[in-house]
């Protein structure tokens, strides 16, 4: 009702809004021209998927800003556009990469690989190589002074046969100590850097057709021939020297006897990445153990952190608690220090040789837990550090939620003769869970994928014995696959990593769905109250 009247009021109150509309139009035009310029740039560089994504977003923004019906969501349009760009596009990209072999060894596109291979040259057995010096005419034409094996000097011009002039002939001036003419008429002698500064020099063909000489490196020009030619029909590179046919085999040109060409290129490989993860016993490794610990870690972390946070919150809910404000402020401190620093500090404090905690324990009891070398103590240490990191969060949200539970309920229960224990379990906790339930799920998911903690604290150590692939006792799924995807034989394998990410996404998504069922149950509890 209120909005309707407001709109009416505006209609009546304001005359036809020409100026604002023009202003809006100007903004749209400015934005569009910027986008178009950006798109052209992107297209020129070959980023078609990205250009398409930007284009669609821009179109959407245009529609929103120009259509009257969609005008109300204009306030969200920036957020939506950014979400599309930074969340949805990466997701699409990840899914796409999961079906390719993108990774070290297969980083570049097929076109780039063919282009690079086509540029490779070889020196035929009868071909000659020379040391070269470049000369350039004011018109920009090049001539090369070549020195062959026997120390003979030759003059090479594009399209003309090789000449062997003496000083004075063909405008060739006096030779210097290294046998290079100091000047050639109509040309300027270039030093090595000036000659190399023209990136086209290597493309110039000197000498007669059929017997051309090309600059190959700063010290060599030779009668080079292209080594590989791409055959579109066979999708293969043909070696011009040996006649070998290199067929495109999953992003690497390979012969039928196994020789392959560098570089490889990005190529779609279908479901191979997923299959490799599930089928291969070598890659699956100690997956059962890891997944068990992963769930145990996430659930135990949640229980411990939540219980401690709740306990403190309940304590401080008592209005008569002494020094409440001060202690509460101190207890929040762990939450305000960046986790990165906290983890490293804990790592130092638990150090068996130098750590404060271990020194103290050893002094008191003559023994300290081997936090980094024993599997069980390492798990305890991880849970401890995580407890330190997260209890203030639960303390904060529980204090807030406790405030919202009406005191009357507790009073009524007291009148009915409930003990304080019963009051907590039957009234406070169920009501509290309604409020913090979704946050618990979020926290569970966060801990399920808590890569930072594991990786920074002990990188998944200590190592597990008798495993087909390297794994640690505190490795969770995400840290294990990180190592797996980034330490394969080819180095970093983004395709494989993306595939595993998608698998983990489905695991987490199904847990979340399952848990949402439970939160709905909690909602029913609150309705009954």
């Amino acid at each position: 009702m209120a909005t309707v009247t407001l709109q009416n009021a505006r209609k009546v109150g304001r005359p036809s809004p020409v100026l604002p509309r023009l202003f809006r139009l100007a903004i749209v035009v400015a934005m569009d021209s910027l986008v178009v310029w950006f798109l052209l740039k992107l297209a020129a560089l070959g980023y078609y998927p990205f250009a398409a994504a930007i284009g669609i977003i821009a179109l959407f923004v245009n529609v929103v800003l120009l259509r009257k019906e969609t005008y109300p969501i204009r306030w969200m349009v920036v957020g939506l556009a950014l979400m599309a760009l930074f969340v949805i596009y990466p997701i699409i990209f990840t899914v796409w990469v999961a079906f390719t072999n993108y990774g070290e060894g297969h980083l570049i596109t097929k076109e780039q690989a063919i282009d690079q291979l086509s540029k490779q040259t070889y020196l035929p057995p009868e071909g000659k190589a020379y040391a070269w010096t470049a000369f350039k005419s004011p018109e920009g034409e090049y001539a090369l002074w070549l020195i062959g094996e026997g120390g003979n000097g030759y003059l090479a011009r594009p399209g003309e046969p090789l000449a062997q002039p003496q000083p004075g002939e063909l405008g060739v001036g006096e030779l210097d100590a290294s046998g290079i003419p100091q000047e050639i008429e109509g040309y300027e002698r270039l030093n090595a850097f000036l000659a190399a500064a023209d990136s086209n020099l290597t493309q110039v063909m000197f000498g007669e057709e059929g017997n051309t000489i090309q600059v190959r490196s700063p010290r060599e020009a030779a009668e080079l021939l292209p080594l590989y030619v791409y055959d579109r029909q066979q999708d293969a590179m043909i070696d011009q020297q040996t006649g070998l046919v290199y067929i495109n085999l999953r992003g690497t040109f390979t012969t039928s006897s196994g020789q392959s060409l560098r570089p490889g290129f990005m190529e779609s490989i279908g479901l191979d990445n997923f299959e490799n993860f599930f089928i291969s016993p070598a890659l699956r490794g100690p997956l059962v153990q890891l997944v068990t610990w992963n769930f145990a870690f996430a659930i135990l972390s949640l229980l411990l952190n939540f219980s401690l946070g709740l306990a403190i919150a309940v304590l401080f809910n008592d209005p008569d608690f002494p020094l409440k404000k001060l202690i509460r402020s101190l207890l929040i401190i762990p939450y305000t220090v960046p986790a990165l620093i906290t983890i490293l500090i804990w790592r130092g404090m638990l150090n068996p040789e130098l750590g404060v905690i271990d020194r103290a324990l050893e002094g008191l009891f003559g023994w300290a837990p081997p936090w980094f070398t024993n599997a069980w103590w390492a798990k305890v240490a991880i849970l401890l550090v995580n407890l330190w990191l997260s209890y203030p969060y639960f303390m904060l949200i529980c204090s807030g939620a406790l405030q919202s539970i009406p005191d009357e309920l507790a009073e009524a229960a007291t009148v009915d003769g409930a003990s304080s224990w019963q009051r907590f379990w039957r009234i406070t906790l169920p009501l509290l869970l309604v409020a913090v339930g979704p946050l618990l799920i979020a926290s569970f998911i966060f801990n399920f994928n808590n890569f930072n903690l594991i990786y920074l604290f002990n990188a998944g150590g200590p190592p597990m014995a008798n495993t087909p692939t390297p794994a640690g006792h505190t490795d969770i799924l995400i840290s294990y696959v990180y190592n797996l995807a980034f330490s394969g034989s080819r180095g970093v394998d983004y395709g494989f990593a993306s595939a595993i990410t998608i698998v983990i996404f489905f695991i987490v998504a199904s847990i979340t769905l399952f848990q949402f069922r439970y939160t709905r149950m909690w909602e029913e509890v609150s309705e009954n109250v």
Binding site: W37, L107, L249, R250, T254, S280, P462, P470
Partner: protein, 534 residues
């Protein structure tokens, strides 16, 4: 009506903008071609034969070209200082970009270079070569006669399996053997002596341990491993790395790990191999010996502990890491970059300047010979027999298995034999990848058997299955014709058997007069295949 009019108007304006934008993109393309034409008239000062211009050059000419260099924070200021000199000398501009630490250059290079946004030249470490070359990101360099002026090991490090040089080295880094000069007068000659000295000092109550491994145990205890004959990858007769020869479970390696375990059991070495722990212990005089690299020199100096650096006992050899300049294969100025590296970088003046702030032994012979810093000189001696870190991509599969193997032995979870055998197995499985154990029959028939290609050793449709009798079988329906095939293991061509049952042997041939169902039977003992046509 008004609405559609405004939309029409917008489109018109847009169109004009598009055209304007098109025009704008045209311009920069034309720009770079112009400047080179001009300065050719400017005589280069580098050529002594050229006469300098008589008219006083009041304003500097526009540079003929520019080279973009990605460097780390130590090298950037030096390169920037040299850029001015380079510009006046050769009229070529150097644009140096600081990317932080050396290891921070690798990832941007991998993402930016294929997109055409990389530099012309970048600084890197030689063990990136595997990934960079296999991905087509770097291009070879020919040093010619200048190669003689470099430390041979540093050039070897930048040489790939194809025998080509892919970088111009400027500095080397390796572990050195540090000892506390207050506690130890003469550096020990054998590893057993290290333990003896440590034992005596421990009994006297001066120290806690004899030595500690400071960091990942694989790399950081390599001088112990090599002293007993341990190695990581073997090399073929040409010096190229052989990834199928894994030395993690070699006799020498197991002996070395057993020795290390003995030191741990005796309380002369901690079983944790933490960087911080090892350094703290040495810097506070709690251990007399330490294996550390030049990157730790600053902190050891700052700690005030009296120390000296020397060679390892028993000729133990550390890994050698070599820093150098590499050329981006996607650069548009490859020739200029090569010229820059061979003519300007590979000179004593340049190498001297880059040595002075780097705190690393130089890779240039004449600069190394004049190293005044005793620590760096000691470091250089310790690295004289160093093994260049393998630059093949397979090295990526080694690190964690190697570290885990040693850790499991030191903490007593497994015996050294067990743990190092496991480690070697893990490395070999990681190198072979997901298809380890696959027996395949690549050949010219494969496109009829459900593979997209012929001669594909990784095609899952033609993978053979092992029966209860231990033989592998594959049955396919083929049309009449002549076919060739081979046996390949583990989904790759690395291990393949021909018709004579020998490695890399000749192809099998198969002639079918009519369409038929063929069963191939492979005997893993004899490596021979028999066919049954039905």
């Amino acid at each position: 009506m008004k609405k559609s009019l405004s939309i029409l108007l917008t489109l018109l304006v847009l169109l004009s903008m598009v055209l304007a934008a098109c025009g704008a993109t045209e311009e920069p393309a034309a720009e770079p071609t112009q400047p080179p034409a001009e300065p050719t008239a400017v005589p280069a000062t580098a050529e002594p034969t050229e006469v300098p211009p008589t008219t006083a050059p009041t304003e500097p000419p526009a540079p003929v070209a520019s080279l973009k260099i990605w460097a780390d924070d130590t090298r950037t200021p030096i390169l920037n200082a040299l850029a001015e000199d380079f510009l006046t000398q050769y009229n070529v501009e150097l644009v140096v970009e600081d990317l932080g630490r050396v290891q921070d250059i690798r990832t941007p290079m991998i993402t930016a270079a294929p997109a055409g946004e990389g530099p012309d030249i970048f600084i890197g470490v030689h063990d990136w070569l595997g990934a960079m070359i296999e991905s087509g990101l770097v291009t070879p360099i020919d040093l010619g006669a200048k190669a003689d002026e470099f430390v041979p090991l540093s050039l070897e490090a930048f040489t790939y399996t194809d025998g080509q040089l892919y970088g111009v080295p400027y500095a080397t880094e390796n572990l050195g053997f540090f000892y506390n000069t207050d506690l130890v007068s003469e550096p020990p000659a054998t590893w057993d002596e290290v333990l003896e000295i440590g034992r005596d000092l421990q009994v006297a109550g001066t120290v806690q341990y004899a030595i500690a491994i400071a960091g990942d145990p694989g790399y950081n205890s390599l001088p112990m491993q090599t002293a007993f004959g341990g190695y990581v990858f073997g090399q073929d007769e040409n010096g190229a790395w052989n990834p199928s020869d894994i030395g993690l479970n070699s006799e020498g390696m197991i002996e070395a790990v057993t020795w290390m375990k003995g030191a741990v059991d005796e309380g002369l070495m901690p079983d944790t191999t933490d960087y911080e722990t090892g350094h703290q212990l040495f810097e506070t005089g709690q251990i007399p010996f330490l294996m550390a690299g030049p990157w730790a020199l600053d902190r050891i100096r700052a700690s005030g502990v009296p120390y000296a650096v020397t060679v390892f006992p028993d000729d133990g050899a550390p890994f050698l890491g070599v820093q150098g300049f590499m050329i981006n294969a996607f650069s548009e100025n490859v020739l200029l970059a090569q010229t820059f590296l061979t003519e300007y970088v590979a000179t004593e003046e340049f190498m001297q300047q880059i040595y002075e702030t780097g705190l690393r032994p130089s890779a240039f012979k004449s600069v190394l010979a004049e190293t005044a810093d005793p620590d760096l000189a000691g470091m250089g001696e310790a690295g004289a027999n160093a093994v260049p870190m393998p630059n093949i991509p397979e090295m990526g599969s080694v690190w964690s298995a190697w570290n885990n193997g040693i850790t499991l032995a030191l903490t007593g979870e497994q015996t050294p034999e067990e743990s190092m055998n496991d480690a070697a197995q893990q490395v070999s499985d990681l190198i072979l990848g997901a298809l380890a154990g696959m027996v395949n029959l690549p050949g010219s028939y494969q496109d009829q058997a459900g593979c997209g290609n012929q001669w594909d050793p990784a095609c899952k449709a033609t993978a053979m299955e092992q029966g209860d009798d231990g033989l592998y079988r594959l049955t396919v329906q083929l049309t009449a014709g002549d076919y060739e095939y081979k046996v390949a293991l583990d989904g790759s061509w690395a291990v393949n058997y021909g018709s004579d049952g020998a490695l890399d042997g000749p192809n099998y041939t198969l002639s079918l007069a009519s369409d038929s169902e063929v069963t191939f039977v492979y005997d893993p003992e004899s490596h021979l295949v028999t066919t049954e046509t039905g």
